[in-house]
Subunit: 363 residues, 2 copies
């Protein structure tokens, strides 16, 4: 992960919700399409926990297609022939934006000296990026999962910066179960002796074992029980009979191991700690006096909420909760629950209805 | 875990589903109540993954009450004034029955040389114990979760050994999602350098970190989202504000850490590997030619199935699947889905309706 990616340094220190300030913040970002002369066609796409700025471009480390290529591009639902799409790596992450792996002013990596950040801090950095780019008002802000939290946070805290707010498979607060799964992941990383209080950057081994376990646990929550059964059932992996051993006998085991180990090649364990913490801290109502509707008071943006019926990580009830708050705030909001077998991950997968909803809303 | 517990050595080697044989098998067990002169009042209670023979007696390592004291005892739903209750530690476990921590014939612990076992192997050992005790026919076999799998396996493979079969919050096969969660736990244990291919018994440190993470991940699956929200929500642990650090800010984090670390004091990591493997291998239909009804063909036992509406580990649909198979086999079966907020763990918790169902069925 020593590669550098196109980025920009914010000209001013970034104030954080913790009360600290982060100086010399670098934001790595990619753009797609052309900014119109009147600068009114910008769409900010916000990425999920382990996502990045390569929304519609091959990932430079894995060579895999961008994570939302089917959604963003020329003639795609978010059409780069008409829109100027900006996608930036969130602070705390590891694809070029300032995070725990970055050098602190003293010349050593921040590691666990990096301040604990919030979703609002991530968005504050994104807004600062928009300022640097001279983009006063977004045509739309769009995000799925943690990206949806950022879209909500932007709408709530910088209400004049986006005309349209599209939130897919997300929530306005992390539930006890959400926190619990993240805590398992963090404990898996911190239990790995290679983690060594986070000071592994100058050493040979990163806590890849712990990070892989964290990813495996999280990955289960991204899929539905039904989707797992359809995809794998109890089918065996490259064998006719159980081995009576501890190899990956079942396809689902093999798949999870592959997901876990592949992930460690592109992601930093400390970033995983910081970003999951930010998500767990997220409670948009709490930030606004305890009533979610107050977060959106006076907003003039149009909102669109999308959930999936098999998403048990951020179930439809969470989207509905947001819709009720937006209604109470008198906001313009549309809401659709889509049927899809793949659980939370559905927002990243082929789904024609989702495409139509996004295309229709973003225009 | 060097304590010894009352146990009996099987007089014959135990054949295993893997084709191997286990010699000198020791079964640790506890009994409650008195065996009737005609030996017809025995009730075999089968324990869950991390359970043991101390169903109605304080746990000798933790001092905590037996895991089903509210269900088993004088005047309780399984009434030891009338019934002779037998509860044995399954093979592969670590409370006195032969398992990976036991000495192999060469005088060193089996560790990972212990054969991979199945649920049917566990039951075969239990049936051998009944033989040794001179109990030809059980008044009832009873089990929740993995205990229910054993009860089903006994009914299917030794159909004359039990008059009544009570299966609570269980399944006839492990789903892809069930396997996936167990695989995360196993990978967490195996990723712990202290595991060292399972040869940690003669060393100072056991893979407690990995085992704790495994337990934490599993523990989430035992509880419902609703139960977690009711019990913890987003409440903070002994503080008024978030710490902006990685301590257990939230009560649910603190609770999980406590569950994880407490577990390592009473359980062996290798046993966790072997028992989860046995559960993942469990597919009662597959054992009987692929049709679950065939597993119960000609049975004369009476069955009772109980599920909980918030159990997402072994949801009601799994119990219903078993009931349909029993119907197809012409068996006598009753079935009830109970309402309870606590998910899978409900079978261990206070539940008056469950008490009535158990009392009525076991008589």
């Amino acid at each position: 992960m020593s590669q550098t990616f196109p980025s920009l340094e914010l000209s001013r220190p970034l104030p954080l919700d913790s009360g600290q300030e982060l100086a010399g913040v670098r934001i790595a970002y990619e753009t797609y399409g052309e900014l119109a002369a009147d600068r009114d066609n910008a769409v900010l796409v916000c990425h999920a926990l382990t996502g990045d700025q390569f929304v519609a471009k091959a990932h430079p480390l894995t060579g895999k297609p961008g994570w939302w290529e089917r959604m963003v591009g020329p003639g795609k639902p978010i059409d780069t022939n008409r829109h100027y799409v900006i996608c930036a790596n969130v602070i705390g992450s590891c694809m070029g934006s300032t995070g725990p792996a970055s050098m602190a002013p003293d010349g050593a990596p921040y590691a666990m000296r990096f301040p604990v950040i919030t979703i609002r801090d991530m968005v504050r950095a994104l807004v600062a990026l928009l300022d640097e780019l001279g983009i006063e008002r977004l045509h739309a802000v769009v995000g799925g999962s943690m990206g949806g939290m950022q879209a909500l946070s932007l709408a709530a805290n910088w209400p004049d910066r986006a005309e349209r707010v599209l939130v897919v498979a997300s929530t306005a607060r992390h539930s006890a179960q959400n926190i619990a799964f993240h805590e398992v992941g963090r404990q898996a990383i911190m239990a790995d002796p290679a983690w060594g209080e986070g000071d592994y950057y100058d050493r040979d081994g990163a806590p890849d074992n712990g990070l892989a376990v964290a990813r495996m646990a999280a990955h289960i929550t991204y899929l539905s029980e039904e989707g797992l059964t359809r995809k794998f059932g109890r089918r065996l992996q490259d064998r006719d009979a159980k081995s009576f051993g501890f190899d990956a006998d079942f396809q689902v085991e093999s798949y999870l191991r592959y997901q876990g180990s592949g992930f460690t090649r592109r992601f930093d364990a400390n970033s995983y700690l910081y970003i999951t913490r930010a998500m767990d801290y997220f409670d948009l109502a709490e930030e606004h006096g305890g009533r979610l509707a107050d977060a959106f008071e006076g907003t003039r943006a149009r909102f669109c909420l999308v959930s999936f019926d098999t998403d048990w990580l951020y179930p439809t009830s969470e989207s509905r909760h947001i819709v009720h708050a937006l209604n109470a705030a008198g906001a313009k909001v549309s809401f659709v629950e889509l049927s899809a077998p793949h659980g939370h991950d559905s927002f990243l997968l082929e789904h024609e209805q989702l495409d139509r909803v996004v295309a229709g809303f973003v225009e």
